[in-house]
Symmetry: C2
Subunit: 496 residues, 2 copies
């Protein structure tokens, strides 16, 4: 066996164990009774230790050295695979085990305090624990930055967005931040002159919602021989490429949220399912980071399924499913619901226009905190200032402000920008797909996703991690990430 | 850390990984879409390799040596735990990896051929593959026998029934085999003079069957905060003690089979759930072998739930669930169904009286085959001869004879006797429980399982593997396994 082959064997084992852990995580959210939590936590912790041991095996140093020499003349796929292996290895070995443990404990502790502090809007109560998390996160970032040869923030970002650079994000977010406030004001003016959306009267029985969701999943191309739809408190896409498990949460008073939620997760699922079967269990065969993943869910949810064409297809199905009739159930009115813009405090409830502002704010704040350019004491006031500047609203209390998201309290620093990078990428890919296959909008009007999904399968899904995020994007669309395309999409939809 | 503590740590890790594999196995049977099979097989194979590596780590030799010296003065619990660790280690290290692989491949191949040969009654087609399995199984048995210091058959039996000895089984099975044919003939004579059971007219909606099954599970004491009931092709009890997953299969035309099936699995579940929480993830904290496990399922299904008292409780619930009325739905008639005796060819469909004969036949045959006292060519004729002798029927073709069970074709030799050891143990434990708590039958008549389950929890479940099978049984009932008690139970029920 060559050193590369030996590495490939080790990473295959690692990946199979991570898949096992992923399935158990799905079960924990979708199936497990509450009393199983302790045993499951132990199983997952053990798997995590075994995986960590595989990645930090001292023999890997030599294997990576040897493999670099071996693969010099080899094809780019093999080199990309080796590079992905190395990236994971660098992340895993950058931190002393003391720091890993301290960080893990600090995050658990902080998250627990946050769960109590949030409903009380008591930022002061969680501040000491959050300081500890930030302090240890900065130490971890410094250790990783040294090995990866990048800034502290980029070292954290790299875990979610391999090869991502804050320099690039700064550029596109600055453009977007300059565009958004004025645009938002115009949209709100226009919206005020339009008739309000007519309410849709429930209740909407859960089994009917589920049946409609399954019908739409099948239309998108979800293969139920290779996946499931279930219920969980927080909807997500889990499982493995050949067995994708998506979840949703139904609300009897509103069918539109769960429906779009399912379509969102279906977009994630199609990406996983479209990863090349022959690259399974190798790092190069995995999805290309969180931004690309989010682009695939937002492609289905935002680009395709909130288009007029698709909503024209959806309206009669919704009427049939819930026995609706009259003007409230016409496509026009459904579109009014789906495309309503309303600046508000909570990110997860935000619409397509205001969502990026929430993300840009978090990105700016976490970058300043990681760089040591801002103190945590200033977080509530800086948060509120940013909300006023970007969205024109000021949270009246911290539970509607800097306490709302679990991310920082749980140690996920460097994750936030991927949401909006994903939204921009979705717009750019959708524009390119329509250019390449002009029949896409009309097909969506018939519930036919084949032209869109065929283009994505070839240009995104099949690429997996064989190239970098911007390389894949540029090859597919002819240019690097361009915020103007996303802005044009927003203009076309909200200021037609 | 002492050597014992180091071993305990390793076995804790091993056990957590085996639990993870167990949960994934449950998912594979109860949740997984067909297309997930290949990925899941890889995940399970990887977990199995990791577990095998833990058990065959060369460092264990020295640790076991050291631990033996350390634990000499220690309590019996620690010694029992160490003995269980050692037993697993001996099984895992007895075989060369070449033999493990050859056996695994031979079993997979043979099982595949068997799946095609069975419906065609073509024993000749599977004979060469089965010969290979038997040959390798005998090699494995020889290697294990040497390390365990026992006979070939007992070495195989030990995997399912730790410490089990064929000498003991011979004794109790000989007694039972002498009793059964005459008893069966008397039961059939008596039954012929009784009125036939009145048919129960379906269909029985699956959701009603499930609701009734859940009600009865709750009555037995199943805690849905620590377990689930789902559907699978082959019903089983899986999961882990704090999250027990049982499955069943419903048939719209017959509610009685699934109901008793659920109660059977609930008995298994109660055992798992009753294992001491503070012994989790240590070998001594596991259930005490397959015979004791089967005794707990048959305790609930056969001893408790086919008693007149319980069926009196069940009858009105069944009437209410399915809207039944009239004489067919009276307890007497339900009992006639549940206690009908009919010698037939298929073990898994057999009643309580004829089932042991099926098992005794298989035990005798597999013991002779493993000992090399019989050739596989003779299996069909010896099978049919045994059926005639024990049950008075001769299978007209091998799919109703020696091709019916997957066990041998899949490499499970030494498993069969545990079914009937379990049935005898259930009768003996139930008799002792009623003696200790005379209120048990009357309580069952109210659907109150607390007195019975309380006694079992203390005398069986809480013992886990801290003592041997017969030690636990003797402590609980005052005597070693005694076939006369099972025979007395059969007489009381079938020849009252």
């Amino acid at each position: 066996m060559t050193a590369y082959e030996e590495l490939a064997k080790k990473f295959k084992r690692l990946h199979a164990l991570q898949e096992a852990a992923g399935m158990l995580g799905w079960d924990m959210s979708a199936m497990m009774p509450a009393g199983g939590a302790e045993a499951r936590t132990e199983q997952l912790a053990t798997l995590s230790v075994v995986c960590h041991e595989i990645l930090t095996d001292p023999n890997l140093d030599e294997l990576f050295d040897k493999a670099s020499a071996e693969t010099k003349g080899l094809d780019s796929w093999t080199q990309a695979n080796l590079a992905e292996m190395r990236r994971r290895w660098l992340h895993a070995t950058a931190l002393e085990s003391d720091l890993v443990e301290a960080l893990s404990k600090a995050c658990k502790r902080c998250e627990m305090i946050w769960r109590k502090a949030r409903p009380k809007s008591d930022f002061a109560a969680v501040l000491p624990a959050l300081k500890e998390v930030l302090n240890l996160t900065r130490q971890a970032a410094a250790a990783k930055a040294e090995r990866l040869g990048c800034s502290l923030y980029d070292a954290l970002l790299d875990e979610y967005e391999p090869g991502g650079k804050s320099e690039r994000i700064d550029a596109v977010f600055t453009d977007l931040a300059a565009f958004l406030p004025g645009f938002l004001s115009d949209v709100l003016d226009r919206q005020a002159k339009q008739p309000a959306a007519l309410p849709l009267e429930g209740p909407f029985p859960l089994d009917k919602q589920e049946a409609l969701a399954r019908k739409l999943m099948a239309a998108v191309g979800f293969d139920f021989e290779h996946g499931r739809l279930d219920v969980s408190l927080h909807p997500f896409c889990g499982g493995v490429p050949d067995d994708v498990r998506i979840t949703t949460r139904y609300n009897e008073d509103d069918f539109m949220i769960a429906l779009m939620g399912v379509l969102h997760e279906t977009g994630h699922a199609m990406y996983e399912r479209g990863l090349p079967a022959e690259w399974r269990l190798q790092p190069v065969g995995e999805a290309r980071g969180m931004a690309m993943h989010e682009s695939q869910s937002l492609m289905v949810e935002m680009q395709a399924c909130r288009s007029r064409e698709f909503v024209e297809f959806l309206a009669p199905l919704a009427r049939e499913a819930f026995g609706g009739s009259g003007p409230a159930w016409q496509a026009d009115n459904l579109l009014r619901h789906y495309n309503e813009v309303k600046p508000d405090f909570i990110r997860v409830d935000a619409d397509e226009v205001t969502y990026p502002a929430h993300v840009i704010l978090r990105y700016r704040l976490e970058k300043a905190l990681i760089a040591g350019e801002m103190e945590l004491e200033a977080l509530p006031s800086e948060w509120n200032k940013g909300m006023q500047e970007l969205l024109g609203v000021t949270p009246p209390e911290d539970r509607l402000g800097c306490l709302q998201d679990i991310h920082w309290y749980d140690g996920a620093w460097g994750y936030f920008p991927t949401y909006t990078l994903g939204a921009m990428t979705a717009a750019q890919l959708f524009a390119a797909a329509k250019k390449a296959r002009p029949e896409i909008p009309e097909a969506l009007g018939r519930g036919d996703f084949a032209p869109l999904m065929g283009w994505l399968a070839e240009n995104v899904h099949a690429q997996a991690s064989s190239a970098g995020f911007e390389q894949i994007l540029e090859k597919a669309t002819g240019e690097p990430l361009n915020p103007k395309i996303f802005e044009a999409h927003l203009k076309a939809r909200y200021l037609p």
